[in-house]
């Protein structure tokens, strides 16, 4: 993360701001006035002089630059790393970290006025699958119930939820869990990705990084040794209410009854920079978009399809519109893509996705409609479009 900071245009904010609502309010007003969201470093956080908070670090250009992926064909390069690069991670120890017994020292943020309180939105959850021994990483919102307890929401469709159930089935009551913030950016991309259960997420992160990661192994699931903050705890059978929470699509989720994490230890780097994540804004959507792009590309490649490029625009939350560019748009590619990515609502397959509105306006297209199913219930339709360039136009020059 520190390397990425050095590659970024950092907009420092020295105003004294409270992590409870004031930072997100400042960002919101800023974006309304200026029209975009830069990477901001909040250096004067009320009540937390030992911490700075960086917001919106995941910009596509910086992210790809950091992991050594350059050029417009970054999806192909990421897919190549995901499918073909195998790298073993190393282990190490941390030195000079502050140790606390509770969350009270951390500048945890409340993001939206009607949320129930402070939330962890940018911490990666690390769990070990008791069957395979693989580490599973993921992003889950965690409500700060008090300084010793978090309530973590894991959607039943997620692998983490299934892993927790495996522990419960063996009679385990306290499941070791780690939440970490900061560290190498490829870990964030791997954690956001829908990795198959037969792969270790840290291994995928190393593949995407094209370089080994150094991990801290303790009595808890692993975390990168250069994390800014590491929380060790136990996921208990107790459940508690979390929510309302401001979802990435811009509305409040009413909340859930979810498992409680008892905090055992909090480690933070000297002069730590906590990475914040404002749900539904550029950083989170960029991660979602990148993972959708390279995972679908990898899948289509592994099924023998030749694809030039894939884009999941941030304007559609990085996941509800998928554009596939290939030299021969056809229904087989469309069907395979729709089968693989069930969240996306519209897929367009075309020879050119850079000017998709023009492609759709000038050329003929074929439409395929299927059911859009969410939580096992049909919600409406999904749309697949194959653009057919029947005529080879000679484009005018000016």
């Amino acid at each position: 993360m520190r390397t990425s900071l050095a590659l970024s245009k950092i907009f420092p904010v020295n105003k004294r701001l409270d992590p409870v609502l004031e930072i997100t309010h400042f960002i919101s007003q800023w974006v309304k006035s200026v029209g975009y969201y830069p990477t901001m470093l909040f250096t004067n956080v009320i009540d937390y002089p030992d911490f700075q908070i960086v917001m919106n670090l995941f910009k596509r250009h910086t992210f790809l630059h950091r992991i050594g992926v350059f050029g417009d064909d970054y999806v192909r390069q990421l897919a190549h790393r995901y499918l073909e690069v195998e790298i073993s991670n190393t282990s190490g120890s941390i030195d000079g970290y502050n140790s606390y017994s509770s969350l009270g020292k951390l500048p945890l943020m409340m993001h939206q006025p009607r949320e129930s309180g402070r939330y962890l939105t940018s911490f990666i959850t690390s769990l070990v699958d008791p069957e395979s021994g693989y580490t599973n990483l993921g992003f889950y919102r965690a409500y700060v119930k008090d300084v010793n307890k978090l309530v973590i929401f894991m959607d039943p469709r997620t692998d983490a939820h299934k892993i927790v159930n495996k522990y419960y089935e063996t009679g385990e009551k306290d499941i070791p869990i780690t939440l970490f913030n900061g560290g190498p950016l490829p870990v964030y991309l791997a954690a956001a990705s829908a990795i198959p259960v037969n792969r270790d997420t840290f291994s995928v992160a190393a593949s995407l990084n094209n370089d080994p990661l150094c991990l801290l192994y303790a009595d808890y699931p692993a975390a990168p040794i250069d994390s800014e903050i590491i929380i060790h705890g136990r996921l208990c059978k107790d459940r508690a209410k979390e929510g309302p929470f401001g979802e990435f699509k811009g509305y409040y989720h009413e909340g859930t009854e979810s498992p409680v994490i008892e905090i055992d230890e909090v480690l933070s780097r000297e002069k730590a920079i906590m990475m914040g994540l404002f749900c539904g804004k550029e950083s989170g959507l960029t991660l979602m978009s990148l993972q959708n792009e390279y995972m679908l590309y990898s899948h289509l490649l592994s099924k023998g399809f030749s694809v030039d490029n894939i884009r999941c625009p941030l304007s559609s939350f990085g996941e509800f519109l998928t554009l596939i560019q290939c030299s021969n748009p056809n229904k087989d590619i469309l069907n395979e893509a729709m089968k693989f990515d069930k969240r996306t609502k519209t897929i367009i397959v075309s020879k050119n996705i850079d000017e998709i509105e023009k492609e759709l306006s000038v050329n003929n297209f074929i439409v395929h409609v299927s059911d859009y199913v969410k939580h096992g219930v049909r919600q409406g339709n999904r749309l697949g479009i194959i653009v057919e360039r029947a005529e080879d136009y000679i484009w005018s020059e000016y």
Binding site: L7, K9, I10, F11, N14, K15, W30, L41
Partner: protein
């Protein structure tokens, strides 16, 4: 090398202005040449109409990574707005901080209070000091050469 867009310039100006109490500023001093552009933008945003120009010459050419000579004081214009006033001094970029240091040396004996702002700090050029040892307000921190939109490089030489 970092290329800035006009939208990013707007953002940095907004950010600097949001840190400043405008009632605390009587006049703005822009360092010529490129400091004048953010200085004028700040004068509008903060509604400070008293404006002065401090001419300090530093670079010998417009080329990227061009060699810089010692900052050289050329003159102070509209100095009546400066004397015994609360001043905001503005430049476009701080590298090693030599220009800003000289500007402070020139203005400090004249003014009542002096605050300094810069759009950008190239942190990799700072030696034994932090950004806020040199300026009070900074729009962005980078690690490399900055290209600003008023240099016209994005226009691609199509004239």
């Amino acid at each position: 090398m970092e290329t800035f867009t006009w939208q990013e310039i707007d953002g940095m100006i907004y950010s600097i202005a949001s840190h400043i109490e405008k009632d605390d500023i009587d006049a703005i001093v822009g360092i010529s040449r490129s400091g004048l552009i953010p200085a004028v933008m700040l004068s509008h945003l903060l509604d400070v109409r008293n404006f002065s120009i401090l001419d300090i010459k530093r670079t010998d050419s417009n080329a990227i990574n061009s060699k810089k000579s010692e900052p050289h004081y050329q003159g102070l214009f509209n100095d009546l707005y400066v004397k015994n006033k609360n001043i905001l001094l503005v430049d476009d970029i701080v590298g090693a901080g030599e220009t800003m240091k000289l500007a402070r040396e020139i203005l400090n004996p004249l003014v009542q209070t002096l605050k300094a702002a810069t759009l950008v700090v190239n942190e990799s050029n700072l030696k034994d000091c932090t950004v806020f040892d040199i300026v009070d307000y900074c729009g962005a921190i980078i690690h490399g050469w900055a290209i600003f939109p008023w240099e016209g490089k994005h226009l691609g030489g199509n004239l």
